[in-house]
């Protein structure tokens, strides 16, 4: 029996490679028709999670549900039925180098039982017409990436699982792919789960974002809420940050402080109390050098959550 409220759901999904705990019990929820951006640094666990979703590696523990069907422990026939509804590519483009784009797609088409007409349609959609008769081994990285995208979507899947889809594409290619993915989600209701480390790309495309760090899903948020979520933050710069922190904690009951590398103080639970904060600091005799509200973009938010530049 399929439940419709989620396309992907994981429950305490974990994977260890020997002593290395690559993914540490994550709970994902991807809803129908949404574009879910899966963000993380290199080695955070993004690709391992994607491999588990696709059945390429076995979870150490936890459960995976796709289209409401529990895949953990499911029979091969059940897994194949689910896989027939998914298009994917994992960790870089790959194709048979001796075959042309068209021949590579013909293999994928035949094995996914897509109609013959889907080859031309997909080639056109990915702007590969000029290269259709060129061998995959002689393509640029960007066109190999397009071929991988074409292979993933040739059978019109309901779910696309894409690992770094914009890698290797030039700016125009990124725009094309962004527009293609958006139209697939909006017009055809395709659910897209994409990992990326290109923050601007995810910010512009994703409806929801999950941030994975050191194998843990540390935050899930709606892209639209990103600004609102951080609107309550204020940065202050004084001649004595430690004293400023004491004054604000004791006098205004503020608790969420972060000290920046330049000695500035960031107050995350300041709300709309800018004037109160300024008054409290000045009245205590501190020299207030700067006070500013923070509107954080995804990049700043991501860096803050994952511990700043590496």
């Amino acid at each position: 029996m399929e439940k419709k409220e989620s396309v992907i759901r994981t429950n305490r999904l974990a994977k260890s490679f020997g002593p290395v705990r690559a993914v540490k019990g994550i709970n994902l929820l991807v809803k129908p028709g949404e574009i879910y951006g899966f963000l993380g640094r290199n080695g955070a666990g993004k690709t391992t999670t994607i491999r588990m979703l696709l059945g390429l590696i076995r979870p150490t523990c936890g459960e995976i549900e796709i289209f409401g069907v529990r895949l953990t422990g499911a029979s091969g026939a059940v897994k194949r039925r689910i896989l027939s509804r998914i298009g994917s590519f994992v960790e870089g483009p790959s194709a048979y180098p001796n075959l042309t784009i068209r021949e590579n797609l013909e293999i994928q088409r035949a094995l996914t039982r897509a109609p013959k007409s889907s080859i031309d349609g997909t080639i056109e959609r990915l702007n590969l017409g000029e290269y259709a008769s060129r061998r995959a081994g002689r393509l640029s990285l960007g066109n190999k990436q397009r071929l991988s995208l074409a292979r993933a979507m040739i059978h019109a899947p309901e779910l696309l699982v894409l690992d770094e889809p914009a890698n290797g594409l030039d700016p125009a290619g990124i725009l094309e792919v962004r527009s293609l993915l958006r139209s697939l989600a909006q017009d055809k209701g395709v659910t897209i789960f994409m990992s990326s480390h290109i923050l601007a790309e995810v910010a512009q495309l994703a409806d929801r974002i999950g941030i994975i760090h050191n194998g843990l899903l540390i935050e899930e948020l709606d892209t639209a809420d990103l600004g609102a979520k951080n609107r309550g933050s204020i940065e202050v710069e004084t001649n004595d940050p430690a004293r400023a922190k004491e004054i604000l904690a004791a006098g205004l009951g503020l608790k969420e402080f972060e000290t920046g590398p330049d000695g500035g103080l960031r107050i995350n639970d300041a709300g709309a109390r800018t004037a109160e904060i300024a008054r409290a600091l000045v009245n205590s005799g501190l020299e207030l050098k700067r006070l500013a509200g923070v509107v954080e973009n995804l990049e700043a938010h991501f860096m803050r959550l994952t511990g700043g530049p590496s």
Binding site: R51, L54, S88, V90, T112
Partner: protein, 262 residues
Amino acid sequence: MTFFITLRTEFAKLRRCPIVLVSFAVCAFVGAMLGLFVWIMANPGMAEKLGLIGDKARIAAAGISDWKGLFAVYLQIIGLFGLLLYSMILAFIFGREYAEGTAKNMLVLPIARSMFVTVKFIVAAVWFELLVLLLAAECLAAGALLGLPGFSAGLFLRSFGLILTASLLLLAVGSVTAWVAVATKGYLAPIGFAILSLILGILLGVTEIGRAFPWTVPAIFVGATHELPGTISTGGVVSALAAFAAAVLGTMIQVNVADNTQ
């Protein structure tokens, strides 16, 4: 239906693969070289004038003076060179999916992974048997062109039967290479394994204890040890079949169960 589609796509993957052409070219070359060798023995005077023959070659080719000798040499070539050939074919067919990064695409298709393994073994077997037929055809052409004496339909059928049986024994024991290819995810280890198994097969073939070793079975059968060509024991058949069963099961389990972290 799915089986035939999968089989067809597996053959399609070989289109324009240089290694396919190279394998046929190498077999054609080996066959031609042996033909030349036999011609040299049939025309020692002319060969000596052309500088094509030395005393060592004369000794080595002793015995290839008729069709029986020619078939016996071809049988040995197929028995020994064939193991390397089939292993390289398997290493390519299975190993390329990992080396070229396409295994991760193949394993997420809605096709049973065991079916991929099955069709790959079939394609490898067809490819290998075509090469065996090419070598056999060259053998016939060489013997006919040189006008060797002693040809009979009985000898041809018996020799062809031996060549075919040897190739089937090679398909059985050589299949383990596929398992090595998927376990190590590439080409090099399976080719190294094939060379090692060939050497061990010949060395152990002359010992009593080595007769249970699967890779000695083709070597004994083709007469590369002290046995007459065509010698095979029940233990040898069981050993070769056990190697084949282990290879197919091992490959299927590896592909179905092991993590693909390529």
